[in-house]
């Protein structure tokens, strides 16, 4: 499942400065290629710059294996502009519609679909509320408990019957169209982080969820004075120990 990034320019600059290819090197390369194109470089200049970037990230890398990817990125760098979105607005009417849905998991899935559809609309005005992602990715973002394929499809079928979503006419196309988008209503809040959308919905509803002070990930609060997520608390603990040692050494 790929990470959803709202500000590709910042992500590209971050990758170049920190010399990181990240979990998905191909996507990072595409972002960096688009950044170079936006900065005014020509297509024939972008390919050698991408190679230099890869070698700076990892001197042992086999450039031959990445030939197709580099060629594709340099050729298509100018095809689409950089995505620079601050956030996706969710309106009052949309939240009311979601709150009226029967079932907590269904509400979270619908919220996730709404956020993804609005993100698609922000990236491309011709999107028309479609969500063109794999169902596994959508349900993973909605943070449900373990759901098998049959349960997922059953839930989507119920939503379709209720008129909340629609499917493509093409028989092997599993894209979903969200039918509850209502931009005329006043904006309630903006979603700027597309991780754990289900948990974010729960937090908005007032459940016991919190945002990590370090990375901003929304997680379930297990302790009253919890401030960090599991990944960040280890680093924070080490930092605090180091700080204490330095203070007491002095």
């Amino acid at each position: 499942m790929s990470e959803i990034i709202l500000n590709e320019r910042a992500a590209a600059v971050d990758a170049i400065e920190n010399k990181q290819l990240g979990k998905s090197p191909a996507r990072t390369l595409m972002r960096v290629a688009k950044y170079y194109y936006a900065e005014g470089y020509k297509q024939n200049e972008i390919r050698p710059m991408l190679e230099q970037f890869m070698l700076r990230c990892n001197p042992d890398i086999r450039l031959g294996k990445w030939d197709d990817v580099l060629e594709y990125c340099s050729k298509n760098a100018g095809k689409r502009p950089l995505i620079e979105i601050s956030g996706v607005p969710i309106t009052y009417a949309e939240m009311e519609t979601i709150a009226a849905i029967d079932g907590d998991v269904a509400q979270r899935v619908m919220f996730t679909l709404l956020c993804l559809a609005k993100l698609g609309n922000a990236i491309s005005p011709k999107n028309n509320n479609w969500v063109n992602r794999e169902h596994s990715e959508i349900f993973s973002l909605a943070n449900p408990s373990n759901m098998n394929q049959k349960r997922r499809c059953g839930m989507l079928h119920k939503m379709w019957q209720d008129g909340l979503i629609d499917f493509s006419k093409i028989v092997d196309n599993i894209n979903i169209r969200v039918m509850i988008v209502n931009n005329d209503s006043p904006v309630l809040f903006e979603i700027s982080d597309f991780r754990n959308l289900g948990n974010q919905y729960r937090m908005i509803r007032g459940e016991n969820y919190m945002q990590c002070e370090c990375c901003g990930l929304v997680i379930k609060k297990t302790v009253n004075n919890q401030r960090y997520c599991r990944n960040c608390c280890v680093g924070e603990q080490k930092r605090q120990q180091r700080q204490w040692y330095q203070d007491n050494k002095m």
């Binding site: 990892n58 042992d60 890398i61 169902h135 499809c153 059953g154 989507l156 079928h157 028989v171 092997d172």
Partner: protein
């Protein structure tokens, strides 16, 4: 090859090569726009397209029509609704391969039925009783949970190394060093959970042999202990020996089973 032989839209209404409307209609009916089904085993790209199509139509059937696609295929036509019949028509029409009952497709079907699931059946060692490798020491559930976590982490790290190996130019020595370092690290982690090697061996066997995932972990962590357990409990080793008059056939040679009694030496850790 004329385009109208393989492309449905390849024929032109004004094309004068057709003698009459009947000939044009005939050509349209017999157009070979799809490869037959058995060719999925020749063209990997076609296999991928076919499998993706089957997966997506199955999902779409459950989402849109509300029933599984196998049930729709097997249901009598008179019992299906208009929507279900329409769905199946489109599903069969847009199939990327031709599923008509021709000779090669029928032969392909016979082979598929015969070999269906045979690899997974042989891979699952459900009858393999690994208890003879154990030391027989009891352990706590908390230790089992921690070791299971370490196993999961080990598999993830191993996958990262293998992915990196395909991308970065590394020599065999570098990779073996990396695996050695990885094994040492996890050995330390496992021993911090359970200091007794015999108990650790039992926990690792239960963690690894209850699933179908890689069992390399248990042999890397406590291979020596397993061999020691085998020597202690079984002093007779059976192995195949090459023999012209043997009853076991393998790789073009014949073997017979031989036995040898072993002596178990107790290690003296006091020295």
């Amino acid at each position: 090859m004329p385009r109208f032989w393989y492309d449905v839209s390849g024929w032109n209404a004004d094309d004068s090569c057709f003698e009459s409307e009947e000939v044009r209609e005939l050509n349209r009916r017999i157009v070979a726009d799809k490869k037959p089904y058995f060719m999925i085993y020749i063209y990997p790209d076609l296999m991928k397209r076919y499998k993706t199509y089957v997966k997506h139509t199955a999902t779409k059937a459950m989402c849109c029509v509300g029933s599984e696609i196998d049930a729709l295929k097997n249901a009598p036509e008179e019992l299906c609704s208009e929507q279900q019949r329409e769905f199946m028509d489109y599903c069969n029409g847009r199939m990327p391969v031709g599923t008509n009952v021709c000779l090669m497709n029928s032969i392909c079907d016979v082979f598929e039925t015969e070999f269906d699931g045979c690899v997974s059946r042989y891979c699952v060692d459900s009858d393999f009783d690994y208890s003879f490798m154990k030391s027989g020491k009891p352990y706590m559930q908390s230790q089992y949970t921690k070791i299971a976590k370490e196993y999961k982490e080990y598999l993830a790290r191993q996958r990262d190394i293998m992915t990196e190996q395909s991308v970065i130019d590394t020599s065999t020595n570098t990779m073996s060093d990396r695996y050695y370092t990885l094994n040492e690290e996890f050995m330390r982690n496992c021993l911090s959970v359970c200091t007794n090697e015999e108990t650790l061996c039992d926990i690792l066997l239960d963690v690894c042999y209850k699933t179908n995932k890689s069992r390399q972990f248990v042999w890397s962590m406590c291979g020596e202990q397993i061999v020691e357990n085998l020597e202690k409990s079984h002093n007779v080793i059976k192995f195949p020996m090459q023999d012209i008059d043997g009853s076991i056939d393998f790789a073009g040679m014949t073997f017979t089973m031989s036995e040898k009694e072993t002596t178990y030496y107790v290690r003296d850790y006091s020295e």
